[in-house]
């Protein structure tokens, strides 16, 4: 998308500014972002906003500006009420937003000034890097921060770099001598009367010249001899050596390093920047400018501290170097951290030395542990390179017990050995072919590397092979471990011997370099060698032996024939195969498969049994890939079909209901061979589980679990006249309601037959039926009538059998009970009347007519029976309960 000039200008002026410092620049305030006019008017504000938003939308897809412009657009949505008010003429929210922005900026600047004063305390200076960080933290332009620093008389300057290493190796001694003289630095020794030393390069630097050395020597010689003069002489001598080695400027460098070392020591003691400046000016007597510069430089130094360097060396496994470093810095062990690290380094160095000594003792004694001890010593201190040198000198113990086992059938040689007792060794296998001499690293073919076993898959046939194994540790090699020579004669590949009717045939593939094959056979036992038994003529890829009888066991030994380098014939060991020629097996015909009518869940296969062999049944997904009469290996059939677990039944076999539709294949099996017979499709019968039936009013509710694979369930029952009725229930109808409701009539008995059905390719298959007999319940209904005037009330109870069917009643009691709670049992009630042995029909019969009980109201009068199979139907509660409010 082309960008217009106005867009480019806007992006350069506003968005690029925002992009500085990660897009967090604050100077893109509302006024700049929307390019609001100085004089705010509703129209101008609306137009400016629309123009700005258009620019953002046009350029928001530019990857460079995407993040910033998305932020602008999001903030614009938040500011929508402000601009909506402005468009309506109410500019107060917008002015308030601008004021709030200014106030926020003012707050940030106030905090920055406080931070500046805090950071520059004592030195009145701040590094530009700190200033940038402060500006970024408060999201203010660094230029404004710099102005604020200037206003607060804070100097923004880069810190000077002070030397970190002494100019002379004898610095430690030099410092000790200076300390005896109570001189803090070289200037105090050479120019003791100066009060304001200038140490930094420039015209004002206090000159320290070699001539001053002679003056100092002369000055001190005038004094009486003592410790101080001795120290002064030493210092002068050291300085002369230094000047001679490094030139006259070395004195200025030494002076600078003296000051830096003093100040660093004070910083380590925790002096604040202001106090450090005072120390430099008062104690070291530096010029006030240089005192501030030196203190500022030391405060801002970021060189790794000595403890960190020592720690790094320790972590790298070089404690010896760490000790050297710590001891090279004079007075470093005064620091607690350095002292602790130094102690650790010394302890590790000592331990490493002890291990090294132990390893040397073992080395001298010829112990196999020497190599490991050297290794452990080196692990403690990587600076002990003598360990590596000693390890290279140590001999390597050889491996033992090398055994070579030719595997003629696989055409390879297996080797295994006892590995060398030395640690960290690898074992190299060498092979020589018909050389007679055992191979060494420089005599033989290097075959491979292993720990304790190896297989030679490329061994040449009919050749004397000599193997040896050498243990290697680095460049050091052990003596070779050799094994007796072996001869590898590979056997025939893919050998397959098949017995048919009065014939045995075999096929194979000759191994590499074989010139032919040999075959011998015996009937009493397996042949032991090529000359043991009757030779059978064999071609290069197989033989056919027709001189055999059916039913006789034949042992064949079959091997490959080679010719060696001298043209002699060499026969392989050969392999034995035993076969029995037999008459051909008869396939199974007339296979029929059907569900077992007596045992649901089982399937019966019936067929005419063949004269020989065992019949096996297989489950195949559809029609089998073989033709009836094919003679195959049993394994080949089992690979493509599932053998069914069968039980013998009269006239066939039975097996468990297989899952899903499939085909059942019969095969006649004899040993490992089988003959394919007929097959029959099997369509699984859905099996219905438990079926329950329960009366619910005039309906009978039949419940069952939905059978697997069933398309529907056929339910047959009888109506009151015994006529069969049928209902087909599909799964949707079954799921919809709590069971299947059959209108059999209230309290009627019936027999229900449920039979699942399934459809396979348009063919309907019915499962085994399940029958449930619902007996006709014995129901007795009774009515209670209260007759007579008060005081002469009588209870008249009549009974009848609903629906007119006769019901036999063993015993019926009319009882009365006080209270308003219905009695459930005879116990606790008053028996008003009793009737035994009664046949009740469809017409009401007055059974009891007794005086009403004389009980306080409320009370119950009702019939009870001890016959638990008799369903006694009460009249309405109002007829039984008397006197209830």
């Amino acid at each position: 998308m082309a960008t217009s000039a106005d867009d480019r200008r806007y992006l350069a002026e506003v968005v690029d500014a925002a992009l500085r410092d990660g897009g967090r620049r604050p100077d893109v305030g509302l006024a700049a972002r929307y390019r609001l006019p100085e004089a705010l008017t509703p129209d101008a504000v609306t137009a400016a906003r629309a123009a700005a938003v258009q620019i953002w939308l046009r350029n928001v897809n530019l990857s460079k500006y995407r993040d910033v412009l998305r932020r602008f657009l999001a903030e614009d949505s938040r500011l929508n009420p402000v601009f909506t008010a402005a468009a309506r003429g109410d500019l107060a929210p917008l002015r308030a937003a601008l004021s709030a922005e200014k106030a926020e900026h003012g707050t940030a600047m106030r905090r920055i000034k406080e931070s500046l004063a805090e950071r520059a305390a004592g030195l009145s200076a701040i590094a530009p890097e700190d200033l940038e960080r402060l500006a970024a933290t408060h999201q203010v332009d660094p230029v404004e921060v710099a102005a604020a620093a200037r206003a607060a008389s804070i100097l923004v300057t880069e810190p000077d770099r002070l030397p970190t290493r002494p100019p002379t190796d004898a610095y430690s001694r030099y410092r000790k001598e200076l300390a005896v003289l109570d001189c803090p630095h070289l200037g105090a020794f050479l120019l003791p009367d100066t009060n304001a030393y200038r140490i930094f390069a420039g015209e004002d630097r206090t000159p320290l010249t070699p001539g001053m050395l002679a003056d100092a020597r002369a000055r001190w010689r005038k004094r009486a001899r003592g410790q101080d003069t001795k120290a002064a002489d030493s210092v002068v001598a050291l300085l002369e050596t230094l000047v001679a080695a490094r030139g006259p400027n070395a004195l200025d460098a030494l002076m600078l390093y003296d000051v830096a070392a003093e100040l660093r020591g004070q910083v380590r003691r925790g002096l604040s920047p202001g106090a450090l400046r005072g120390f430099a000016a008062d104690t070291l007597r530096l010029h006030h400018t240089d005192a501030r510069r030196a203190a500022f430089a030391v405060v801002h130094e970021q060189v790794p501290e000595l403890p960190a360097r020592i720690r790094t060396l320790l972590d790298a496994g070089r404690p010896g170097e760490a000790v050297d470093l710590a001891e090279s810095v004079p007075g470093a062990d005064a620091d607690g951290d350095v002292a602790a690290l130094l102690a650790e380094a010394r302890a590790r160095t000592k331990k490493a030395r002890k291990r090294l000594a132990k390893a040397r003792e073992a080395d001298e004694a010829g112990s196999p542990d020497a190599w490991e001890l050297y290794e452990r010593a080196y692990a403690l201190d990587n600076g002990l390179t003598e360990c590596l040198e000693a390890q290279a000198r140590l001999p390597v113990p050889p491996p033992t017990c090398l055994v070579c086992e030719p595997d003629p059938e696989a055409g390879r040689v297996r080797l295994h050995w006892q590995p060398s007792p030395a640690a960290d060794t690898e074992h190299v296998v060498f092979r020589s072919v018909v050389s007679g001499a055992h191979p060494r690293p420089d005599n033989g073919t290097r075959m491979g590397t292993a720990h304790d076993n190896w297989t030679d898959t490329s061994a040449p046939p009919v050749a004397l092979l000599a193997y040896s194994v050498v243990a290697m540790r680095g460049d050091a090699a052990s003596e070779p471990c050799a094994a007796p020579t072996v001869l590898l004669c590979p056997e025939l590949r893919g050998l397959d011997v098949t017995a048919g009717a009065a014939r045995v045939s075999a096929g194979w593939q000759l191994p590499q370099d074989a010139v032919g094959a040999w075959v011998v056979r015996r009937t009493d036992r397996p042949p032991r060698n090529p000359d043991d038994g009757t030779p059978v003529p064999a071609g290069p890829s197989g033989f056919v032996d027709a001189a055999v009888d059916n039913g006789t066991t034949y042992h064949y030994r079959i091997g490959a024939r080679f010719r060696d380098a001298f043209g002699r014939t060499v026969d392989g060991t050969g392999v034995v195969r035993t076969v029995v020629p037999h008459l051909p097996l008869a396939p199974v015909r007339d296979l029929a498969v059907a569900a077992d009518p007596f045992d649901p869940g089982w399937v019966v296969a019936r067929f005419a049994a063949p004269p020989e062999g065992v019949v096996a049944l297989f489950r195949v997904p559809a029609a089998p890939p073989w033709q009836p009469g094919d003679e195959l290996d049993l394994d080949a059939v089992a690979a493509r079909a599932v053998r069914l677990d069968t039980q013998a039944v009269d006239g066939g076999l039975r097996f468990r209901h297989p899952e899903g539709a499939c085909a059942v294949l019969a095969a006649t099996v004899a040993g490992a061979r089988c003959v394919i017979g007929g097959h029959a499709p099997w369509l699984p019968m859905p099996v219905l589980g438990r079926v329950t039936a329960q009366h619910r009013g005039p309906e009978l509710v039949v419940r069952f679990g939905w059978p697997q694979d069933a398309s529907d369930v056929e339910i047959v029952w009888q109506d009151a006249d015994g006529n069969p009725l049928t209902r087909i229930v599909d799964q949707a109808a079954w799921q919809r309601s709590d069971g299947i409701r059959l209108p059999v009539g209230p309290d009627a008995g019936t027999t229900i037959q449920a039979r699942p059905a399934a459809e396979y390719g348009g063919r309907r298959v019915m499962g085994a039926p399940v029958r449930v007999h619902v007996p006709e319940p014995r129901v007795l209904r009774y009515a209670v009538v209260w007759r007579g005037m008060p005081g002469k009330r009588r209870v008249v109870v009549s009974v009848l059998s609903p629906h007119g069917k006769p019901v036999w009643v063993d015993q019926l009691l009319l009882v009365a009970a006080p209270g308003d709670v219905r009695p459930l049992r005879v116990e606790g009630t008053r028996v008003l009347a009793r009737c035994r042995g009664l046949l009740v029909g469809g017409d009401p019969v007055v059974l009891f007519d007794v005086p009403a009980p004389d009980l306080p109201r409320p009370f119950w009068v009702l019939c009870l029976t001890p016959d638990k199979d008799l369903l006694l139907v009460d009249p309405p509660v109002g007829d039984l309960l008397r006197g209830r409010k």
């Binding site: 009366h695 619910r696 799921q735 919809r736 459930l824 008799l870 369903l871 006694l872």
Partner: protein
Amino acid sequence: MPETINPFGAPGDPVTRQRPYRCPYCFATFAMAGLRFSCDGGRHQDAGLFASPLGRAHAPCPTCGVEAARPRCGRCHRYLPDRHLETPMLLIALAGPRNSGKTTYLAALFRRLDGVLADECGYAMTAADDYTRAALKETFHIGDGEPLAATRRGGGTHMQIVIRLERTPQPGRRFYARGRAKALTVVLFDAEGEDFDATRHHLDYFSQNELGHLAAADAVLFMVDTAAIPGARSAADGSLDSAATTSAEVVEQVTRFLRGPRRRRDDKIDVDAGLVLTKIDLARVDRGSMLRRPRPPVGYQANDRAAVHQELRARLREWEARQTERIIEHAYRDYQLFGVSALGNDLKRGEWHPERIHPYRVEDPLLWLLAKAGFLEG
């Protein structure tokens, strides 16, 4: 329009009698003037809610003048169900200790209510709001082996199911008889996670927010686990379920609370009460008992109801568990005993399957209340 009079009254407040409508969500009572409206389609959301200047069931938007026809409750500001102002409302609250089977019972009830019962009684059931629709589809749906989620304790949320029953024309019968409601809004309130803990017995605890639905309820169904009644369960069924709070304690707490806002002149509570014995199929009863006989499939039948009620009274006496029933009998204006089984068998939670669940008489309490409300013949 500035509002000078609070049109909403607490349940039991005398002023509420003059306010014929009740919100099915917050149970506030209000007159037509208490309805609030919002601009349809939310075009003028800034305008907020407004009342009908003429106290009607619709009001013009003060900003655009478009007529707003979906009234909201003036207190909770939820949209009222469709045709709510023309339909009487029956608010049924469920109360019972944890694990007494309230949620399972409701799941089985809704399954029956929308299935067999709708055919028997000739009505159509619809969910009145999206929340109810989702709850019926997810929370109260009995899936294959999926247990219903246990109600959360103290979560402050609840299951408030608002359904609308509308009678459907029956062939050969008048559309609806005189005095019978043509439609009814039924609110079932399952206090989710509500803990009727006996240790928190101060009445102050029952604040308006937590038990407000009880104060507004037309009927309370106390759920009692039959397995928790020592004498009820057959000896072969093993140990009893133990619950921290018993059903009797819940009945006492609720009754004590309702005596405040719902007391009548005769000292009874102006609420119908039902004592629902759940898992009744586990109870030890005879084969010919009413508790083993199915409900006559003819809707509500008063004789069957009375027989079951009396049999349960007798059974409770036999089980020596009439204490709860006596409290209810003396405290409430009318009460009934119910024996229900939500599953119809003793399935464990992992064995649930829609085909293996056969609810038994779960609809009895609702049939009784619908008959009392004049929605069903009885």
